[in-house]
């Protein structure tokens, strides 16, 4: 090689970074991916489940033999009150039709495999290496620094370094962050034999379940829980808003929340006898479109969670599809800029155009009001309890004569739900 420089250096070997690298490598672009962990995925804390329809259009050949877990055939939403819970389950044949709608995924496994594919395609993945700073040259980003001694000069840098993106910050693309735009997530991976999982969750072979929880598990704080069945493990965790955690009185630690959650009868029987093989915690973005940094500048593009591309849509939680999509769009932008060797902000602004026209920005925009709704504490204490109470009254039989179902529902419904706060909440809901 004539000069000590690469064309593209990507910081972070997650889905966004690897997707960009995969496309660039296939086009013969000299690309290096720098990863802090021992291998791609080593530091990942995704829930997780990946929706296939948004990503299948990108590198379809790759998904065919990707090490995904179970295809999700059952979706459950559970509202947890203090001593009871109500669940709604959707079990549809449509989820059993190929191509499958979504898969559970273990990112430590998947990303490592994807990293190998990226290497095979011709990019270089450099693990155990932390990017600490960007190289600035004449006001433009010209590569990255690793520690005091090492650096990788490059034509263009892709910041794919996750939610607290140091690269975007060092390049001056991010303003000071607000705690309300972030949540903290803890996750355990609990190993169980595949047969046990299928029996406990009533699943066929390779079928999986995805369950979201909200209510008492976050003790009135903004957040929720999740459970995904993998081939021979269960990913179980919860997410809680950082601002809610800071404001809560008395204080509570997140690890106590997950211990209490696991001790709930709804959960403890599902995980009984399992072995915790992974325990992790991470910050996740909740700010949506309101907390997006600038997406590009001279010599740099920001992708995936580094760009704030994560979305809590209440019933679904997304991020991976945005990561893949934005990674590919960044790669396409670079391919275009490469024709004229122009990596200035003006040239790279094409990336923002692509993002704005895509499902990423449209979804983030459509669901921009979810956050304010999630800040409503009634969602986490009043509603789960009220719904439970009504169902419990309907189901309960004792020595007294039972009231008519219709009168129970009407009486309870009016007393609980016909007031100004709930009407305001419903009005808020309609904005989503």
């Amino acid at each position: 090689m004539e000069e000590e420089k690469v064309e593209v250096v990507i910081v972070g070997a997650g889905l966004a970074g690897l997707s960009a690298a995969y496309v660039l490598a296939q086009e013969g672009v000299d690309t290096v991916v720098v990863e802090r962990g021992d291998y791609p995925g080593a530091k990942n804390v995704t829930g997780g489940r990946i929706y296939m329809y948004p990503v299948a259009r990108y590198f379809p050949e790759l998904w065919e033999d990707a090490p995904l877990e179970r295809h999700v055939t059952r979706e459950t939403l559970t509202m947890m009150a203090e001593n009871c819970s109500t669940s709604i389950t959707l079990d549809s044949d449509r989820f059993r039709e190929e191509p499958y709608h979504s898969y559970t995924i273990l990112r430590s496994k998947f990303d490592r495999w994807f990293g190998d594919k990226v290497m095979e395609a011709g990019a270089f993945v450099l693990p155990k290496s932390r990017a600490d700073d960007v190289i600035m040259e004449d006001g433009r980003v010209a590569g990255i620094r690793m520690g005091d001694e090492d650096e990788i000069p490059a034509d263009v840098v892709i910041a794919a370094d996750g939610v607290l993106s140091l690269m975007a910050e060092k390049a001056g693309l991010r303003q000071a962050q607000q705690p309300k735009h972030f949540a903290v997530s803890v996750k355990e991976v609990i190993e169980l034999p595949s047969k046990t999982i299928e029996d406990r969750f009533s699943l066929g072979p390779n079928e999986g379940t995805a369950q979201l929880f909200f209510g008492d598990l976050t003790k009135g704080m903004m957040g929720g829980g999740f459970l995904y069945t993998n081939i021979n493990s269960i990913s179980l965790g919860l997410v809680v808003g950082i601002e809610s955690l800071m404001e809560r009185d008395p204080k509570i630690e997140v690890h106590e929340l997950i211990e209490d959650f696991k001790a709930r009868p709804e959960i403890r029987n599902l995980i009984a006898g399992g072995e915790i093989v992974e325990y992790s915690a991470h910050v996740i973005p909740e700010g949506g479109v309101n907390a997006m940094p600038r997406l590009y500048s001279d010599g740099i593009l920001v992708v995936g969670e580094a760009a704030g591309f994560g979305l809590n849509m209440l019933l679904t939680v997304r991020g991976m599809e945005f990561a893949v999509g934005s990674g590919v769009m960044a790669a396409e932008t670079i391919m275009k800029a490469r024709e004229s060797k122009d990596y200035s902000a003006a040239s790279l602004s094409y990336y923002e155009e692509l993002v704005k026209e895509s499902f990423i920005f449209k979804d983030l925009h459509s669901f921009r009001n979810v956050l304010s709704m999630l800040e409503n504490p009634r969602l986490f204490n009043f509603y789960p309890q009220a719904v439970c109470d009504i169902f419990e009254k309907l189901m309960w039989i004792d020595e007294n004569p039972k009231a008519k179902i219709s009168s129970t529902v009407i009486r309870e419904g009016i007393s609980k739900f016909l007031n100004w706060s709930t009407i305001r909440d419903v009005a808020g809901m309609l904005r989503i």
Partner: protein
């Protein structure tokens, strides 16, 4: 001067999980032995000092070596010989020494052969000595300081209670201790350039051995069992306020013989 460094890749011990007392090696990333890195570092330091030297790494392992070998090449090795043939798998220490000796004989030129004093996984500490015997060379073990001058080496050996200074004529086999140096972290550009350095893959036939003279078939030691020690947790939960808990903890530790001996 010609320097040969012998190295081995092994599962990253920090990432091995024990299940039913057995290690789960599946999907555990491979790393170089800690002392193997001291060995290549020492070779690189000698080369920097004497100027004219060629360092050849002989490495045994899986096909993952093609990737892993970039690290020692970036640290300063000039060339690599990779013993990746599956026939080599399951060697005992003597078998490994035999294969290394044949490979080094084939390389032909060697003034210094440097190894770690033991591997991080098995730590038998046998391979260096067996190799010296097979190559009919003198050997200096547990080396914590090494000086090469005028066709001679002067080495300081760590004897735990004392240091021993030894001199030998080249060629010689050296096994190094961890304190001899601090292995460098290769820079990215060096790793990138390492990809262009010559690499040779040799199977048993290339070094004049048949498949049943190597690996598991030729091992004279059978591993009968490899189990992690059993460890029961006490599961004691201390109750009370902080002072009471501390007192109870101290009492419990004294009772277990951990404190106050």
């Amino acid at each position: 001067m010609d320097i040969v460094v012998c190295m081995k890749q092994m599962p990253d011990l920090q990432q091995i999980r024990i299940k039913d007392r057995k290690p789960i090696l599946e999907n555990v990333p491979l790393v170089w032995g800690d002392l193997d890195k001291n060995a290549i570092e020492e070779a690189a330091l000698i080369k920097e000092k004497v100027g004219e030297a060629k360092i050849t790494v002989v490495a045994k392992g899986s096909d993952k070596l093609q990737q892993g070998i970039l690290e020692p090449l970036a640290m300063g090795a000039d060339e690599a010989v990779l013993l990746t043939d599956p026939a080599f798998e399951g060697s005992d220490s003597m078998g490994t020494a035999k294969v290394l000796a044949k490979a080094i004989e084939k390389i032909g030129a060697y003034d210094l052969v440097i190894l770690g004093e033991g591997s991080t996984d098995n730590y038998s500490g046998l391979v260096g000595s067996a190799l010296a015997e097979l190559l009919n060379l003198p050997e200096i073990t547990y080396v914590r300081e090494l000086n090469v001058e005028n066709g001679k080496v002067t080495a300081v050996r760590n004897m735990e209670e004392s240091f021993e200074v030894v001199e030998a004529n080249l060629p010689v086999v050296i096994t190094v201790a961890q304190e001899i140096n601090e292995p460098r972290l290769p820079k990215f550009m060096a790793i990138r350039k390492a990809g262009a350095k010559p690499r040779h893959e040799w199977g048993p036939a290339d070094i004049g051995l048949s498949a049943d003279e190597v690996g598991e078939n030729a091992a004279s030691v059978d591993m009968l069992s490899n189990l992690a020690p059993e460890q029961d947790r006490k599961n004691i939960i201390l109750e009370g306020d902080l002072d009471e808990k501390i007192d109870a903890l101290v009492d419990a530790l004294i009772k277990e013989g951990v404190l106050g001996r």
